[in-house]
């Protein structure tokens, strides 16, 4: 629970935007894009096609209201049955039967069949009002959902009566001070098929579920919010095992606390390069490099160091199986197997498949929530991003932000295609989200392949600008100086020929060296700023 709802408890209703009182939904991300929740004591229209998630949003609004804000709710359904709804949301961890037993929730199923109804004269829908009013009074409800009210149009023959009664219903809801969600089917040229938006003027949310680049994505948009500022973009959302999760791309609050605690990189010499104390706890680290540069090994060192401190670490591996990782790391003296046995390390090895990104991220969220690690490694993040570049960035941002908020230190490796230079533009463009960026590359020195490492940036840390030699032994990762660098640390070269090959200390004549140096100098500047 803490992950999603931690700070919402004390802020049940938030007064902002010129005195408009808002009722927090408690739905992950929705309160951010609505700038505090739905208009309290007023109806909100949620429109979308079948399967767009309207009912899920509505029931979660009630469940969270009842559980987190002590606002009981009435769910009046016109299409589904109470049993169906209860079964459907059980997968979200919502136990409606329990809420009903605790008088926090009433499910009222309204069944109307046109074939059953013969009109014999004048009538109104007072029966509906009485029913709703009775349910509200029974549990002292503050929230109401009508899902989907438009079913009445199919059921009742007299549209004029119905429209007049709907107008009265919305007035009634307002008069009773009920915060309500009315769902409606998306119409072809209008927000709802029967124009419900005409009656609900305060807040309108549009939901949809569409296929984009063969990937189904769900989106949500605040079409209208009278008297309030709100996010205007389309926000992707996912339905997780804990309910809806809206990804408010542009309104992410950068509120996470930045600690000053440092944790070891797992490699003492690398710690030395970043003020001798390692990464900030809770920061995000990117390790980029082409194939075989040692990204996974660097990540494994970091994991091993965390486990050695008695902390829990979670590794998402997309290229090797768990046993393969353990075997390969053992070969360079990093014993991950023992941490797995001790229960301090969990390895989730999988291939995120083409249509599985949404599901996969859900899985990751869940794994993090369950295992509660202090360190998370994704190796490599580029596997998540290759096939769905457009969809993935906000999702990654969300994930990274989520980890930060939780104070989890996250290390991502990224496979870059170009082996000749330190890649400045990682494909995903996630580097801007990263606090520390370490680049690795292969170099060839006198017909032998060798590895190099440089810290491209480290926010809040005055880090070494040196390009270092980097290798493995049976004792793990070894980092050693290879020559004087642009930053002029003035160390003595230890690897013969290195300075010539890397072009870091040669006159600006060779083409390759020139380009690389320019790139490095730029990175150096960037990192400082």
């Amino acid at each position: 629970m803490r992950l999603y709802f931690g700070h919402t408890l004390q802020m049940r209703k938030k007064r902002n935007d010129g005195g408009l009182v808002k009722a927090r939904t408690g739905i992950n991300g929705l309160d951010e894009i609505t700038n505090g929740g739905l208009p309290a004591g007023r109806p909100t229209l949620v429109s979308g096609a079948a399967g767009s998630g309207k009912t899920m949003l509505a029931i979660e609004f009630l469940v969270r209201g009842a559980v987190e804000f002590d606002e009981p709710g009435v769910f009046m359904m016109f299409e589904e049955s109470a049993e169906e709804l209860t079964a459907n949301v059980r997968s979200l961890g919502f136990d409606l039967d329990d809420l009903i037993a605790r008088r926090k929730l009433v499910l009222d199923q309204v069944r109307v069949e046109r074939s059953e109804i013969e009109e014999t004269g004048e009538y109104d829908l007072e029966g509906l009002f009485i029913r709703l009013g009775h349910a509200v009074d029974r549990i002292g409800a503050k929230r109401v959902v009508l899902d989907t009210l438009e079913a009445l149009f199919a059921a009742l023959p007299n549209e004029a009566v119905l429209r007049a009664e709907l107008r009265r219903l919305f007035e009634w809801l307002k008069k009773r001070g009920l915060t309500a969600i009315i769902t409606g089917e998306r119409g072809e040229n209008s927000l709802t098929r029967y124009g419900l938006e005409e009656y609900v003027a305060d807040c309108v949310i549009l939901m949809d579920h569409r296929i984009q680049d063969k990937i189904a994505t769900r989106h949500m948009r605040i079409v209208k919010y009278r008297g309030s500022s709100h996010g205007t973009n389309e926000y992707p959302f996912i339905i997780t095992t804990k309910g809806l999760s809206v990804l408010p791309i542009t309104s992410l609050l950068l509120e996470h606390k930045a600690g000053t605690e440092r944790i070891s990189t797992g490699v003492p010499t690398l710690d030395d390069m970043i003020e001798g104390s390692g990464y900030y706890r809770g920061s995000s680290i990117l390790v980029s490099g082409s194939a075989g540069t040692g990204k996974s090994t660097l990540a494994a060192s970091f994991i091993a160091a965390a486990c050695a401190r008695g902390e829990r670490a979670l590794l998402f591996a997309y290229e090797e199986s768990a046993s393969q990782i353990i075997r390969n790391m053992a070969a360079v003296g990093i014993d991950l197997g023992r941490w797995v046995k001790k229960g301090l390390l969990q390895i989730h090895a999988s291939r995120p498949s083409l249509n599985g990104l949404e599901q996969h991220l859900v899985q990751m969220h869940d794994n993090v929530k369950e295992f509660r690690p202090t360190v998370v490694v994704i190796d490599p993040i580029s596997n998540l991003t290759m096939e769905y570049d457009r969809a993935v960035k906000p999702t990654l941002m969300r994930l990274i932000d989520h980890l930060k908020v939780e104070g989890i230190t996250a290390l991502f490796t990224s496979l870059t295609s170009n082996s000749a230079a330190f890649q400045e533009d990682s494909e995903v463009g996630v580097s801007s989200l990263m606090d520390t960026w370490i680049a690795l590359r292969n170099v060839e020195i006198d017909a032998a392949r060798s590895r190099a490492l440089v810290v491209l940036k480290a926010r809040g840390i005055s880090h070494s600008q040196r390009v270092m030699g980097f290798g493995f032994s049976k004792k793990g990762v070894e980092i050693h100086p290879v020559g004087p660098t642009l930053a002029g640390d003035g160390a003595v070269p230890t690897a013969a020929g290195a300075k010539r090959e890397w072009g870091v200390n040669t006159p600006p004549s060779p083409k390759k060296g020139n380009r690389e140096r320019a790139s490095k100098a730029k990175n150096g500047r960037k990192a400082k700023g």
Partner: protein, 105 residues
Amino acid sequence: MTTEKKDQKGPVAEWQLRLYVAGGTPRSTTALRNLRRICETHLEGRYSIEVVDLLVNPQLAEGDQILAVPTLVRKLPEPMRKIIGDLSKEDRVLVGLDVQPVRTT
């Protein structure tokens, strides 16, 4: 049933009708008057009427799925049938209840 009113002419009526209203509005009164008249004309001696005021017994609205008022529910003979409105259109009431009209000669 607290608000119950029976015009029963026998031990078990062949036609059991239940009229849902919301308070003593003119429309409720009209509906009940119309219902009595129709029953007397076409179902004499074979019916019972029960009036449920939802303002008094709101919990009863759920059981018979009442939305509109007035609503007349034919409990017997089965199957259950429902008609809405103030019952002023007699022919529709007869169709809705599936009553064979008594022909006046």
